[in-house]
Amino acid sequence: MDYEQLTELIVELELDDIADAVKEALEADGKDPFDILSALTAGMDEVGHRYDEEIYYLADLMLAAETMKVALEVLKPALASSEKVKDKVKVVIATVKGDNHDIGKNLLGILLMSEGFEVYDLGKDVDAEKIVSKVKETGASIVGLSSLLSMTVSQIEVVHEALKNAGLRDKVNLIVGGAPLNMDLAKRFGADDFAEDTIKGITHIKNIAGI
C-alpha cells in the first residue's frame, strides 16, 4: 500500500476499504503513521479542491469526512505512541444556543481532526458557559461557532462577552460560520473571523494556527 493509494482512497471516498488499507500500511508495510496521515490529509485537500471546483458537493464532503474518520480511528493508537508526537492545536467547536443545526459543524470537526487538530465538539444548542468552561479546561486557542439561524446569530456576541468576562477572550481566536452570517455581522458580534463554508473554515483555522 503506497502513499498515493491511500490518498486516492480518500479522494475516491472508499469508505469500505480505508480501514484495511491503513492497517496494511501500518502493519504489513511498517510505514510511519505521520507519513500515512500526510497522505490521507493530501486526499482531503484534493476533496476540498474538488468541492471548490463544484466537482464534489456536500454529500461527497460528508463521505470523505466519514472515510477520514475511519482511517483516523485505525491510525490514532499508532500516532499516539509515536516518538514524533507533538502538541496539537486545540479547537473547541459548537453550534450556538438555540440552534439545532449541526451538519456543517460536524463536518468541520472531522476535517479539523484529519488536519491534526485536537477537537472538542460540544454539540448543538450549546450555551456560552459550557464553551467558556471547555476553553478553560483544555486551554484551546481557537473557538469555532456555527449558527444557521438568523435568530441565533446574536449568540455569538454572548459567547464573545462570556469569554471576555472570563478573561479568556484575548487568548482565543473566535471564528464563526453559518448561512445568515457574513464578515460584517461576524465582526459586529465580536468574532475575529468568518468562513463562508467548511472548506474555507479549515483554511482560515489553519492560517490562524500558523499551519
Binding site: E54, Y57, A59, I103
Partner: protein
C-alpha cells in the same frame, strides 16, 4: 391610514402573474416568523399559537406594522411544521423543542435516525395534527378578516434534512434508494397537507415551494432534480396553482431550476451581485423576481435606514421596470434586526416604487 388590503392583493397577485396594468407600485413581500412576530406583539411563541384567533391577530398586526402586501402563516410552510407532523405521527415529540421567542424546532435527524425508522415511518394525517389544525383555522380567520387569499407551502428536501439530518447527505452517495423512499413518504404527506388545505381553507392561489436542494453547497443539480425537482413536477400534475421557488441559500440553482421546472417566481437574495438579477430578468422574462439582493444579514441588520433605502432603490430601478418584481428581504426577519431598518423598506418602496419607475 388603514392598510388597503384589496390594493395589496391586486398588486401582489398581478405582479406575480406579470401584469402591469392596474398595478400602482412594486409590492412588498416579507417572510415573517415567530421571532419577529413575538418581538412586535410582545408575546411568546406558545402564546402566539395558543389559538387560531390569537395567531391570526398577531400575523395581521405584524404585517400591517411593516406595511407588507401579504400575510403568510409561518406554520403553513414546509420545514419545522411538517417535521412536527411527522414527529407527532411517529410518537417522537421529544425531538421537538419549543422556544419563547422563535419558531419551534426539531432535533435534526432524530425522527429518521435509522433505516428502520424510514421503513416504518408513518405518514401524518394533517387533520389530526394540532399545529396544522390551528394553521388551517388561522388561514380562514385571516382570509375572512382581510380578504387576503391564503397560500400554503411545500418542500421535500427541507423536511428530509429535518427528519434525517446529516445522514441524508451520506445517503445521497451510499443509500439513494432509501433516501428516495423517505422523499416519497414526505411527498405523500405533503399531498395530504395540501388536500386538507383545499378542504378546510380553499384553493391556495400560489404555492411557496421551499427548495433547499437547489443549492450548489448541497448537491449537484442532477441530485437536486432527483431528490426535489422530480417531486415538484409530480406536485404540479396534482396541483394547478402556480409555484414560486424559495431558496435562501447562498449559491442557488435558480437558473437551472427555471430551465427545468415551471415557476412563476423565484424568491432569494443570492447571488448578491445585482447584475446576476438583471441578466436573470432578461433571460427569464416570464419569471417574477421576489427579492434579488436584499439580504437580511447585511444592510437590514448592520446598516442604517439610509443603507436599506439605497438597496431597495437599487433593486427597484434595475428590476421593476416592466413589472415582475417584488421587494422581498431574504430570509425571515431576524430577532435583532433594527425596526427602523425594516420600516425603511416600505418607505423606500413608496418613494421609488410607483409605476412608472423613475430613474430607471
Amino acid at each position: 391610514m388603514p392598510h388597503d388590503r384589496t390594493k395589496s392583493v391586486i398588486r401582489f397577485m398581478k405582479t406575480l402573474a406579470g401584469q402591469v396594468r392596474g398595478v400602482d407600485r412594486v409590492p412588498f413581500f416579507a417572510i415573517i416568523d415567530e421571532q419577529f412576530i413575538s418581538r412586535i406583539m410582545g408575546i411568546t411563541t406558545r402564546e402566539i399559537l395558543s389559538s387560531p384567533e390569537t395567531y391570526a391577530n398577531c400575523l395581521i398586526k405584524t404585517a400591517d406594522f411593516i406595511k407588507a402586501d401579504t400575510i403568510q402563516i409561518p406554520s403553513a410552510y414546509a420545514g419545522p411544521a411538517e417535521a412536527y407532523a411527522f414527529a407527532e405521527a411517529n410518537s417522537k415529540m421529544d425531538s421537538i423543542q419549543w422556544y419563547d421567542y422563535k419558531p419551534l424546532a426539531i432535533k435534526q435527524g432524530e425522527v429518521c435516525k435509522t433505516e428502520e425508522d424510514i421503513e416504518k415511518l408513518e405518514i401524518p394525517e394533517h387533520s389530526k395534527i394540532d399545529l396544522w389544525d390551528t394553521t388551517y383555522k388561522t388561514a380562514n380567520i385571516i382570509r375572512e378578516k382581510t380578504k387576503f387569499p391564503q397560500g400554503m407551502g411545500l418542500g421535500i428536501w427541507s423536511v428530509v434534512q429535518e427528519l434525517r439530518g446529516i445522514n441524508a447527505f451520506k445517503d445521497i452517495r451510499k443509500n439513494p434508494d432509501l433516501l428516495l423512499k423517505l422523499c416519497e413518504k414526505i411527498y405523500k404527506s405533503q399531498l395530504d397537507s395540501y388536500n386538507n388545505w383545499i378542504e378546510k381553507v380553499g384553493e391556495s392561489p400560489i404555492i411557496m415551494y421551499t427548495g433547499y436542494a437547489f443549492n450548489k453547497h448541497m448537491m449537484s443539480f442532477k441530485d437536486a432534480m432527483k431528490y426535489e425537482g422530480q417531486f415538484i413536477k409530480r406536485f404540479q400534475k396534482e396541483i394547478k396553482s402556480p409555484f414560486f421557488l424559495h431558496n435562501c441559500g447562498t449559491r442557488p440553482y435558480f437558473r437551472e431550476a427555471c430551465n427545468e421546472i415551471d415557476f412563476i417566481a423565484v424568491n432569494g437574495s443570492h447571488p448578491l451581485n445585482i447584475k446576476y438579477w438583471i441578466d436573470f430578468k432578461k433571460d427569464f422574462p416570464k419569471v417574477t423576481i421576489m427579492g434579488a439582493n436584499i439580504d437580511v444579514s447585511r444592510e437590514l441588520f448592520t446598516g442604517t435606514p439610509q443603507d436599506v433605502e439605497e438597496k431597495v432603490k437599487e433593486n427597484i430601478i434595475n428590476l421593476a421596470p416592466g413589472g415582475r418584481y417584488i421587494v422581498s428581504p431574504i430570509c425571515c426577519l431576524p430577532w435583532g434586526v433594527p425596526i427602523p431598518n425594516v420600516l425603511a423598506i416600505p418607505e423606500a418602496i413608496e418613494k421609488y416604487g410607483h409605476y412608472p419607475i423613475k430613474g430607471a
